[in-house]
Symmetry: C2
DNA sequence: GTCATTCCGCTACGAGTCGTAGCGTAACTT
DNA sequence: AAGTTACGCTACGACTCGTAGCGGAATGAC
């Protein structure tokens, strides 16, 4: 999947590629990313840490960015969305677990670096989609289906294109807000922020606008003065 | 502002730094970013295009990333938020104009590249904040104040910290969604998307959930089948 | 004017990285 | 066995890095 695959793995003759070398290279890439960052990360350094020859790297990956994508893709596979009982709790949960992933140095460094490369490398973009973006989008689909089963959201409409537009929008809003808060604004994504963000997502701008004074305008756990952790789920 | 400033500009003797060279260097940096991208951008290339010596660059900027920040900061100054008459139209407007900025190759390439660098370079983050992030955040403050004057949003509450939390949240949601849609999902931010996003932001998840069938649940221009451009303002 | 100071353009340098080529050897298929 | 492919190793030219040293130009202080 990751590797160029000189022949489509069918009818392969000769010595096969070492799977152990693959694992060592990807692990060494993650470790090196944590310690020295993207800009000082070199192919020679990775090869040395992995205990393989530099030429072996170039036989499998055409560029540093492609190698790094494969190295961190597994991290985005670890994302899970356990059922927390209601839509609000599920959203807060996915926000916090995605933020936890972005706190890992190798994840955030690799993500931003390959995105930067992709702005000038057309071929890199589909690769990022498959390895990283799509692995997060499934969480939105899962959480949405679950909320529909609970009756918290209406079932899919007749037009599947309209459904896709809304799912894409929700995905961009959640992932974008967490990434921007974490990596651009450089502020912590904690339970307090996750609660406020979820209120905005579910109920709109009016629900988070300051006046906590008037009675029961906002529904449920939206009270900005609330001190209890999650309000509903966990 | 940008330059290390060997002496605090007070009591400067000797030959002053050439402002023309500064302009030429920053312009050359932007042009080179468009043509060859971040990874192949070298200090020697910039110096050659600007018609200055490479040593002149190193006398003023310690690293490529700092130079690029200063080169693109002016682009983020061009963002404006004209009064479109109502909050909904103002939000759609700022979404579209920010998306237009991110369509410029030098802006998106530079933004993502310096953000990637900042994940491993502590000193770079405040610099990005001043030069780029804060110049967008003022738009949120402007639009919010305008909406309060119109009576679309309640006035600021007693606790200014609560106001700051909400403003930061709105900023991260808008900027994050646009950046994620444009540069990560790699999909166009057009009027249709801006309208849908604004509905979500103002009214919450229920307003964009598919069923357009039942009568008048969603308010105003939220109808997903709407074909008219902006719905309200201009 | 003269002096001190600071910036500029130029050249040169060692160090490091890049991506590739060539070799002999190891591992697997038929 | 023979054929094929991957591996580790070494070496290479090309490029970029960031710095140092030089002579000359532009300013402020006197």
């Amino acid at each position: 999947m990751a590797v160029p695959d000189p022949l489509p793995s069918a009818q392969r003759r000769g010595r096969p590629r070492s799977a152990a070398a693959d694992r060592a290279i990807l692990a060494a890439t993650r470790a090196a990313l944590v310690e020295i960052g993207w800009s000082r990360l070199t192919m020679g350094e990775i090869a040395q840490r992995a205990g393989v020859a530099k030429t072996t790297l170039y036989r499998r990956w055409a560029a540093k960015s492609e190698l790094v994508i494969d190295a961190v893709a597994v991290l985005f596979d670890e994302l899970r969305l356990p059922d927390r009982g209601c839509l609000r709790a599920d959203v807060e949960g996915v926000v916090l677990s995605f933020a936890a992933l972005l706190r890992r140095p190798e994840a955030k460094t690799a993500l931003m670096a390959v995105l930067a490369e992709s702005t000038t490398d057309e071929a890199l973009r589909p690769r990022i989609r498959e390895a990283i973006v799509d692995r997060q989008k499934r969480l939105v689909l899962d959480g949405r289906a679950r909320a529909q089963q609970r009756g918290e959201l209406p079932p899919d409409p007749a037009d599947p294109a309209e459904t896709a537009r809304v799912v894409d929008l929700i995905f961009d809003v959640i992932a974008g807000a967490v990434v921007h808060r974490s990596l651009v604004s450089d502020c912590p994504v904690d339970e307090s922020w996750a609660r406020l963000f979820t209120t905005l997502l579910l109920e709109g701008l009016g629900a988070v606008s300051p006046p906590p004074a008037p009675g029961g305008a906002a529904a449920g756990a939206a009270a900005p003065d609330g001190t209890e952790p999650t309000g509903g789920g966990r």
